[in-house]
């Protein structure tokens, strides 16, 4: 399982590096203008983020001790997955279609909001689980 995940990550990294090298070659040879190359690269990164976000809720890990912790972890993964997927698609869409200034600002805001949502929700779940565990230990 870990080997397969590592394989996908390495394949994605290789794709990004190959795309960057190809686009650089295209810009130098005059086949692609610098703005298009930048846009293509950002769209690829956005789609990559959407792809990772899509599979985020599937990475359950080992079962937790309490059903409540399990439910909250599941909720955190779902919220994080949706947030990252939508942010990735928004990022890719903005870089594909919007003017450069809007794509730059809007894309950053979309990804930062998704990251904040994911982190905030995960911390809330962690705090709730910890509170429940302390309460059950005191009983």
């Amino acid at each position: 399982m870990i080997v397969r995940q590592l394989g996908y990550a390495l394949a994605f990294a290789a794709l990004i590096l190959a795309a960057a090298a190809g686009l650089r070659y295209g810009v130098v040879s005059g086949a692609v203008d610098a703005e298009s190359a930048r846009r293509i690269m950002q769209v690829l990164l956005g789609l990559g983020l959407a792809g990772y976000g899509n599979f985020m809720p599937k990475k359950l890990g080992r079962p937790r001790r309490s059903p409540e912790a399990e439910a909250r972890m599941q909720a955190a993964l779902r919220v994080g997955g949706w947030a990252m997927t939508l942010a990735g698609l928004a990022y890719a869409g903005l870089w594909a279609l919007a003017p450069l200034a809007l794509a730059d600002t809007g894309g950053t805001i979309a990804v930062a909001s998704a990251a904040a949502t994911t982190l905030g929700y995960a911390l809330w779940c962690f705090a709730a689980c910890r509170g429940a565990r302390n309460a059950s230990a005191q009983r």
């Binding site: 599979f55 809720p57 359950l60 439910a71 599941q74 779902r78 997955g81 997927t85």
Partner: protein
């Protein structure tokens, strides 16, 4: 992907996934929610596991199922649920089984 579509085509399996959205549940808890036999529920669980939409872990004699939907699969589930895909076939299957039972009884 065809396994995912097959799994999501059945209203009972979709209802199982909807229940698992709230929290992980045991096979017994899930079976109690549906008016079908345990072997039928086991077959539904097997289809869902084969499609990698649920995760099962056994503790003693209890099997607990956890939701394992990607965002795309989650969206497909909502889509299938909203448009009632497979509901007609399921209703027909129910009718057939009712007629079959009535035929056997008379």
């Amino acid at each position: 992907m065809s396994r995912v579509f097959k799994a999501l085509a059945d209203p009972t399996r979709r209802a199982v996934l909807q229940h698992l959205r709230r929290r992980p549940m045991t096979a017994g808890e899930l079976s109690a929610l549906f008016p079908v036999s345990k072997p039928t529920m086991s077959a539904h669980f097997a289809v869902l596991r084969e499609a990698d939409l649920i995760d099962a872990h056994k503790q003693g004699t209890t099997i607990t199922y956890r939701l394992k939907l990607s965002v795309l699969e989650d969206a497909l589930l909502e889509f299938a649920h909203a448009f009632g895909i497979g509901a007609g076939a399921a209703a027909q299957a129910d009718d057939n089984s009712t007629h079959h039972r009535e035929g056997s009884a008379s």
